[in-house]
Structure formats: structure tokens, C-alpha cells
């Protein structure tokens, strides 16, 4: 974008080739899911998402996946990269072993290539009443909350609903009615918010059959979270809140 001196001095960074193995599936073609190999030309600083874009834009326009912000905030591009759930926009190609194996998230119905059905995931999220519940009248200005009170649920406010955690959860794979770690993270976000008065009704929902007790403390969710949320810890805090009836 620069004219003048900047442009003359700018250096071209050498590109590199990366090998990808992408699990392809097209519901309109009647062929079972199968791996296809590609070689993408990228820069070492590029993300796996850039490599997928290279394939789509230069090799095969039919490759299908979701993406939007491309820097780890919108949560669109969670997928299995070399067997781990990651955001494609948050993994640099130079940091992963080749060929880079790319597959859709487990536990969700695959619609096409890397794109899975997210409707059920958002229904599970909605089921835990993910909104502030209050009965007291609103003050004229803000509700007061101390820095310490705010800190108690800071970690779980970071959730971007990408489903990397829920898609890594063995109990969820076995039972898609389990609310799953993402919904639990968001329940935590409200249960431990000093302004919220809905903990009892939320804990009631979470103590039911497909609630928090389905969690087997596998820790996959914590490892998968691209936001670094301590998911298992949040879930343990919910379990304790139910057991001791105390938030």
C-alpha cells in the first residue's frame, strides 16, 4: 500500500509449500467422506486458514468451510487439525507437522467438507439460560461490582462459542443431549456473576440427567479451548456449587 521509500525497501518473503490432507464430503455427490491431498503455497507466517484459502482460491473452489474474522475472535473456523480441535486462523502452518490433516469437528453432523451443523450446539447453549437474570429493580446508573467480583467469572466471559471444546468431549460424542462444555462455560459466566439472581434455576437445569454430571473430567475441553479458558475448572466450580448449594 505504500509508495516511495517504503515500497522500494520492502522485501519479499519467500513462500513455502505445505502439504494438506483434507477430509472432503459433498452431500450432493453421493460419495463417502474421503481424504484429498493438496499442496498450498503460503508464507511461513501464514495460518492454516490461509492454506485452506489457497486451496479454495487456486485449486478447488468447491472446498467448503466457515471463516470470518480470521484472528481467533468470531469462532467460525473450529476444526480438527492434526487430530486436535483448533481454530484454523490461530494455528500457523510452520508450527504443525505435515501433511496437515484437516477434518470437521467430531460430534456434529457434517454438512459439507469441514462445515458442520451448528444449530444443535446453539440450542444447547440456549438451554442453560445464558442471560443475566435479575429480580431487583435496576438502579439509575450501573450496578456496582467490585474488581474481585468481576474477576470471579472473567475467564468464562472469553468464550466465543466456537465449539472446539464440545467437539472434543467424549461424553458429548456418546450422548449429544449432554449440554457439553461450551454451555457449561456460559452457565458459569452467569452463575458466578455477582449481579445475577438466576443461579438456582440454572443449577437446577444443570443438575438434571444431561447436565453437568455427564462430565467425566477428561480435560480435552481445556486443551481444545482457543481462548485459554480453564473449562474443566469452571465445570468443577459448577459441580461444587450444586453439591454444596453455594455459589
Amino acid at each position: 500500500m505504500w509508495g516511495g521509500a517504503g515500497r522500494r525497501h520492502s522485501r519479499r518473503i519467500a513462500t513455502m509449500h505445505v502439504a494438506l490432507k483434507i477430509l472432503r464430503y459433498d452431500p450432493e455427490k453421493g460419495v463417502k467422506p474421503h481424504f484429498v491431498d493438496y499442496v498450498a503455497e503460503v508464507e511461513p507466517t501464514d495460518r492454516v486458514l490461509d492454506a485452506l484459502n489457497y486451496v479454495k482460491w487456486h485449486l478447488d473452489g468447491s472446498l467448503t468451510y466457515r471463516r470470518s474474522c480470521a484472528h481467533g475472535i468470531c469462532g467460525s473456523d473450529a476444526m480438527r487439525i492434526n487430530g486436535r480441535n483448533r481454530l484454523a486462523c490461530k494455528v500457523l502452518v510452520k508450527d504443525v507437522r505435515q501433511p496437515i490433516t484437516v477434518e470437521p469437528l467430531l460430534g456434529f453432523r457434517v454438512i459439507k467438507d469441514l462445515l458442520v451443523d451448528m444449530d444443535h450446539f446453539f440450542e444447547l447453549y440456549a438451554s442453560i439460560k445464558p442471560y443475566l437474570i435479575t429480580h431487583s429493580p435496576e438502579p439509575e446508573k450501573e450496578r456496582l461490582q467490585s474488581i474481585e467480583e468481576r474477576e470471579r467469572f472473567d475467564d468464562t466471559t472469553k468464550c466465543i462459542l466456537c465449539a472446539a471444546c464440545t467437539g472434543s468431549c467424549p461424553p458429548f460424542w456418546g450422548n449429544p443431549q449432554f449440554v457439553g462444555p461450551a454451555a457449561l462455560v456460559n452457565a458459569h459466566r452467569f452463575i458466578f456473576d455477582s449481579r445475577d439472581e438466576g443461579a438456582a434455576e440454572r443449577l437446577e437445569i444443570l443438575s438434571q440427567r444431561d447436565g453437568v454430571w455427564r462430565c467425566r473430567t477428561v480435560f480435552n475441553c481445556t486443551e481444545a479451548c482457543p481462548r485459554g479458558i480453564k473449562v474443566t475448572l469452571a465445570i468443577e466450580q459448577i459441580k461444587r456449587a450444586i453439591l454444596y448449594n453455594k455459589v
Binding site: 487456486h58 470470518s68 475472535i73 454438512i111 450501573e142 456496582l144 468481576r150 466465543i160
Partner: protein, 574 residues
Amino acid sequence: MYHKFDAVVVGGGGAGLMAALQLSGKVRVAVLSKLYPTRSHTGTAQGGIGAALGNLEEDHWEWHMFDTVKGSDYLADQDAVEIMCRESIDTVYELEHMGLPFSRTEDGRIAQRFFGGHTRDYGKEPVHRSCYAADRTGHMILQTLYQQCIKNEVVFFNEYRVLDLVLVDGVCQGVVALQEATGEIHTFHAKAVIFATGGYGRVYKVTSNALTFTGDGVAIAYRRGIPFEDPEFFQFHPTGIYKMGILITEGARGEGGVLRNRNGERFMERYAPTLLDLAPRDMVSRAIYTEIREGRGIDGRDFVHLDLTHLSPDLLESRLPDIMDFVRTYLGIEPSREPIPIQPTAHYAMGGIPTDVDGRVVVDERGTPMPGFYAAGECACVSVHGANRLGTNSLVDIIVFGRRAGRDAVRYVKEADLLPLPHGVEDPARDEVERLLGADGEEKVAAIRAELQEQMDINVSVMRDAVKLTTMQRRLSELRDRYQRIGLQDRGRVHNSDLTEAIELGNLLEIADAMVAGALAREESRGAHYREDFPKRDDARFLAHTLVRKSEGGVTIGYKPVSITRFQPQERKY
């Protein structure tokens, strides 16, 4: 398929959800989004939402208004800015009541920080006005509004891509959309339509904007004869991560970060002696550009440094956690020890669909509203940002005017009638989809888009002149011809993103055309629009909003007056 609602909101970001919340429970409303709403670009906003709460020091909405008007280089409509700065206070409290987890002050109130161009007492020194939740303010706004929509049982049509506006005798009566999961065309028949479709930064290569920010709503309205207001004003944010364009919030400078050139000099001292690194974005971006052009980029190259190394690691982790994460992830450097390579990044469209202060789309120089059609947020031009938006004011805009548009639409749908739809309203959209699905030309969408973005970076960037702009016009004409000869590889109906990328490219080409036309006609420098061949602001000729209209074989340009109430235009110094 046919659907009937009282109101349809297009776009699931902050403006759209805020509008939907006003409508829900009162009338039948649906939100259509080409994404899932939580993927919307509002979520990437970092540093804060401006409101004169005065939680840390004295502040007044009049000061906020003055800063916004001055920041806009006196092109913002002052009646609208006054409404925005007054109502921002109340809307921030409303967000807090909805549950938004703001960062807090020692006494438990909403925390506020410095931000570019926000001052106390009409320009004296920086003021704590930006209400923030760490560097995730947009994320918290988007999540909170979506949560409220769940609570209010708002009906969503996710991954429905709007392709066309239904107009019956000059009255808006709905939209036509593509359901991405099936490829089916749907008609949404409604008395009111609110576009909250976001901006179009993907017209550039180096941008902070999402891949999905392709100006769809603006292009759809523009094709339907609605003018495009102030398209030449596009903001370049000073601090994008070098080459990637990923945003580093102005809040980083609000917390004490400084810009340095190759000599380690804090060069903003020469450009804005009072506000320094917290001068408005247009000025800081031009300063960086000048440093680079004069050979003072780092190692003589095309970037400078954002230096946070003198700030305490604890402060960086608590106030700017995501920024730390971005820099570590994408650059592999430790921002508490090393400076960050940055360059200006295409960030925000000041222009868009012209509206009045109630979000009603206005179609001419006299401000005549089109019944039933609303727009809010970045796709709209009220205009509260004029020639240059201040940091934090985009979030203020979406919340205040999303709310106002929603409220006015409630009033409107209770009074208005649903008109019968003529036959074949979906035909133009359906025909275009079929044409693209059958397209087997030799040109590639990705190649045309890449060339558009590169050429826009070169020719319609921070510094412009007639030679660059006319070059871009020629390039655009070639690119449009090539677009007519594209071929798709995916012919399927289910989630055909080969198709939807082609549709988006068509929208970007439309947008670029208007941007260049507006920029060429405006022979002055104002805010983000800097013409090296006309380096001075020219109020006699150009204290006016541009209205670009699509016409047979090109565009026509008109102008409409700026609302000036409290603050007479002055020379802009910081």
C-alpha cells in the same frame, strides 16, 4: 419459500440485534444473518464504547460531541452527533443492566480509559471516556445482545444471505434471501426492513475487517437506486499488525503505548503536540505514512513500531490480554519486551446508506425517507462520523442508532399496511444465482478479488491524487469486464461458498466504483480523504455530503448540506 413478518432485520451484529430487541415482544420480527449472529464483526471491536459517564473524572456529553464533530473534520451532522453523545450515556447503562461485564473501577463502577481524539473541556487534554471490558468490548456487546435475544425469543434465520430488496412503488416491502444450507430462494414479506449489514473493508488487501465484510447491504441498496453517501471516506486505523492487518486497539496507546520510527523517535510529537499518539486516526495514519515515505520506517521499510515495553506486564495482561495473545500468536514476539511492527490497516467505512436520526433511509438531497426501509451501524451513514470516525464511536453508533431504528420501526409497522407483493419479486435474485451457478468463463473470482484489493491499497489509500484515482477507475472497468466472464467450480446447491464469494465480489466491485467516484469528485482534503493534489480543506466547495448514485453506464454525483448546530468549522489541530 414465502415468509411474512412485520419487520425483518438483516445482520446479526450489534446494530441488528439492538434493533431486534426493540421490536421483539411488540411486533413479529425476524433476524436474517449470512453468519451465525455471534460471528458478526462487532465481536472484534476491542478498546471500548465512548460515553461521558464521568466515572473517573469530570466529563460531559457536550465535550464528547465537540470531539466527535472536530474529529469528523466538521463533516458530521451535528444534530445526529448531539443525539448520539447524549444517548450513549443511557445506552451504556442499558448494556450494563443487560449484563455486559464491563471492567470495573476501584469503587465498582464501569471502568473508562483514554482513547484517540477524546478530550476534556473542548480539546485541552485526553479524558477517560471509553467504557471497556478489557480489550474485548465488542465481544461482550455482541454476546450480551445475543443473550438478550435468546431471552426475548427472537426468531433467527442463520446463514440466510440477503440478495435483494423488495420495493413496491417506492415502499420497502421485504427482502429476497438465499438459504445457504439448501440453495433455496426465500421471500421475506415485511412492512419494515432494517439493514445492519456492516462495512466493506474487504475492498482492500491490508484490513482489520472480517473476510465476510463485503458491503452486501450497501451494494444491494445502491443497485436499487438508493444513493451511497460519502463513500470516499474510509478510515485507516494506524495500528494494524504488519502485513496481516489485524487490529491493535487504540486502547494500547490509551494505556500509554507510543509510536516510534527507525530512530526510536516518538514522531507524533511533531504532528500533534497536544494529543501526541492519541490524535485522531486519520492524522496518525498520515503521520506514519509520511515517516515511511521519508525513509524513517523501521530499517527503511514500510512499517513503524508500537512500543509497549515501558508498560508493566501486569497492566498489559489485565487491560490488553487479547492484544498480547495476537502479538504472540501471529508475530511470535513478546510485546512486554519487544516493540510491535505496525502499519495502517483499512478499518472503517464512514460512508454508507444515508439515513436520518431515526435510522430511516433517505433517498435524496432533501432527506426524503423511503417508507419501510431502515439502516443502522456501519452500513449506514447518519452521518455521525463525517470524514473521520473517533475510536469508540462505532460501538456508540451501533447501539444508539440500532435502538433508534428499532424503536421507530415499531411505530411504523403499527401504522403501515402490508402491500400485496407483485409476482416475481424474487426473479432478479434467482436469475443472478442461476447465472452464477452456470458461469463457466475462464476468469477466477479469487484472482479478480486479489487484484481489486491490491489496486485499492495502491490507489485509494491514505494518500490519494487524481492520477491514482483515474488509474483505479480504468482498473475497475477492466475488473468489471472480467467479472462478467468468471467461472465457478462448485455447481452444488448446499453451502456453495464458491457462489457466495462470487456474489460478494460483485458487491465489492460496486462499492469500489462509488468510492473512487466520490474520491475523484472531492477535490479537497478532509479527514480520512487526503488528496495530495488538493491538500487543503475547502469548505466553500465541499462542506457537504457526497451522494453517489448508480446510473445507466456509470454514476452521478450530488451533494447535500451538513447539519451545523453548535460548532462552526475551524482549522483542525491537536
